[in-house]
Symmetry: C2
DNA sequence: TTGAAAGCGTTACCAA
DNA sequence: TTGGTAACGCTTTCAA
């Protein structure tokens, strides 16, 4: 592959001039520009080597998006897709590329600084990064912070682990969750389950205590659970009638798998508040498969209003996913450009009532 | 920010040694390793500068994914998300990052090599790229080819515009489409519409001719249309009873907008073959809004079997989206590693019959 | 308007 | 096992 120097030599000009031609920068006579362009074409020189240019410039024109777990898993949630769409839209407008960075979960016995299992994260050529919904104890966070990159957090720890965030973007998770629970209460439900993917980093299934729930590893989960509890408290109901269950993962399958436990109990719940739409859709599917009508026998509420929810007629708490991506991207780009940044935007959440919730059926027994 | 050289100086060793410590490479005594690690920590050195390392190494550990149009638009299609998931899964496994590269559509009057509006594409620091479903006349293609990067095409031109593809990944679009059309035929439909997003690069709406259809800008669209026509031909039916309509864009809204024309004609169609699920979902929604039952008054078939389709009970042609991503990524990584590559994998497509198709209702008049 | 030259921060080869 | 030392390919003053 020809280099800029080759072109300079062949065209009989300096490398500085060739660089100027290719960067649109500066004053170059039309004659020289033409000669350089031609020579470049003849040599098959496609433009400055990006790695070299990045090194020299100190900027790359690419921002990273750090996604929880591995990329494949993260993109499986349509909510993540919507968020990315927002980030991408802003990136487009500012001619900034997007690199997806996987943040593996905490693993015990991390070796030296070299082979900690975060190679992509530590070596990615990016100007800054948006940290999307990663677990608070992920080793990715310190690794990123150590790099000294400008960082924007989305859906992340309230106290943010001391990371020097440029901005922390949040959603009214607690208020949205409260509205969801309030909705079920006002329909007449009094025995309801809360279904989370998992409370701790290690997946677990089955019923959990509220004490565990309050210590959930994810701040978003904590907030949502707190919101559900708020509604219960406001109604003067005991938390014993608001059971917390873990599905083990954030997927429709996991939601389906957890459904039996909800319905089979001695006194089954009449409603389920799920912390994500994918979980909720799994519950709906499993309930119907067991001939438990939704919402007749079981009301189901999701969270996120991901694209799937509307299709499925799922009552859910909508958060502006796309806008969240836009806000985060704009904050990061502003910081990179040295512009002032809103350090703590909070986006609204709102209940969207669809067909998956209704009054509880009166007990036939 | 401290550099590797600073660390070397402070620790009283050579830069080579520090480099070795941080790359796990080579033999470094435990004592030296410890001293270097400590010094680095003390200086706040987070590891080698990725841009510099990339320049020196000649590799980055990142592959690009070129998406049609702009990223925001592309990610709006859940099918793209599923594909990306596949690519990401392979990337994870091989510790390779993913950069999303936007490929703007053709625009007239492109200026010099510098400011052609493809900055991200021309400057992205990647080792190779997967070109996903981009238009055949996109300026992105020559720009990429000029860079001399190893390239894998997905859903791309049959003749591939002479680009030196490492591999071209295809799906049995034609066969899948034929099966879809055959399905409607066997249900008794004889007057059917084909709904595409658009045939040419410039968006257009309304009915089109088969002559236009055969010249569609996208090879995938051409293949699918050919498949529909195959079924018609095999049944001995005239193409005049298989109307081609353009929706103008690949979105549910566009599909909905095109629905009126399908139903309002003097002799309305009884079935619609859509080239994507999002279009199909738009048609279903719009038909129902006009009190045309699906499938009673109108049978609707999608394409892709994106995650939305199952939720909505849409009959569609399934293609292995995730696997497509995996195959493409593996091909590219193999090429980068100098391993042998299957240059022309073809993935299967299969009809998935759900609730959106049924026999045509007998005309009441 | 053009050129000379000094790095940007690494890695990898070869020698010690 | 460690160090010296060339590159890697470019951008950017500063001078001419």
């Amino acid at each position: 592959m020809a280099t800029l120097r080759d072109v300079a030599a062949a065209a009989g000009v300096s490398t500085a001039t060739v660089s100027n031609v290719f960067n649109g920068t500066g004053r170059v006579s039309e004659a020289v520009r033409a000669r350089v362009t031609e020579t470049a074409a003849a040599l098959g020189f496609a433009g400055p080597n990006p790695a070299a240019a990045s090194l020299r410039r100190g900027r790359v024109g690419i921002i990273g998006i750090v996604l929880a777990e591995n990329l494949g898993y993260a993109l499986g949630d349509p909510a993540a897709g919507a968020f990315l769409t927002g980030v991408a839209a802003v990136g487009d407008a500012e001619d900034v590329g997007l690199t997806l960075l996987p943040a593996p979960p905490a693993s015990p016995g991390a070796p030296g600084p070299a082979a900690r299992g975060l190679p992509t994260l530590e070596r990615a050529v990016v100007d800054g990064a948006i940290v999307y919904s990663i677990e608070e104890d992920s080793p990715a966070l310190p690794a990123l912070v150590a790099r000294g990159l400008p960082l924007v957090a989305v859906d992340s720890p309230r106290d943010a682990t001391g990371a020097p965030w440029v901005a922390v973007v949040r959603v009214q998770d607690r208020g949205g969750a409260q509205a969801a629970a309030q909705h079920l209460l006002s329909l007449g439900h009094r025995r309801v389950a809360v279904l989370v993917d998992r409370l701790a980093t290690a997946p677990a299934r089955g019923r959990a205590t509220w004490a565990d729930a309050r210590r959930a590893a994810s701040s978003v989960i904590r907030e949502r659970l707190a919101g559900y509890a708020d509604a219960w408290r406001a109604a003067g109901l005991p938390l014993s009638s608001l059971e917390v269950h873990q599905a083990g993962a954030n997927s429709a399958e996991a939601g389906a798998g957890a459904t039996a436990a909800l319905l089979a109990a001695p006194s089954p719940v009449t409603g389920v508040l799920c912390v994500s739409d994918v979980l909720a859709l799994g519950v709906v599917r499993a309930a119907q498969a067991r001939s438990a009508e939704v919402p007749g026998a079981l009301s189901v509420v999701g969270f996120d209003d991901s694209p799937l929810a509307a299709e499925a007629g799922l009552t859910t708490v909508a958060q502006p996913l796309r806008e969240k991506g836009e806000v985060a991207a704009r904050a990061l780009l502003a910081a990179l450009a040295g512009r002032p940044v809103d350090a703590a935007p909070v986006l609204p959440a709102r209940l969207v009532v669809r067909a998956s919730t209704g009054p509880p059926r009166v007990n036939r027994c």
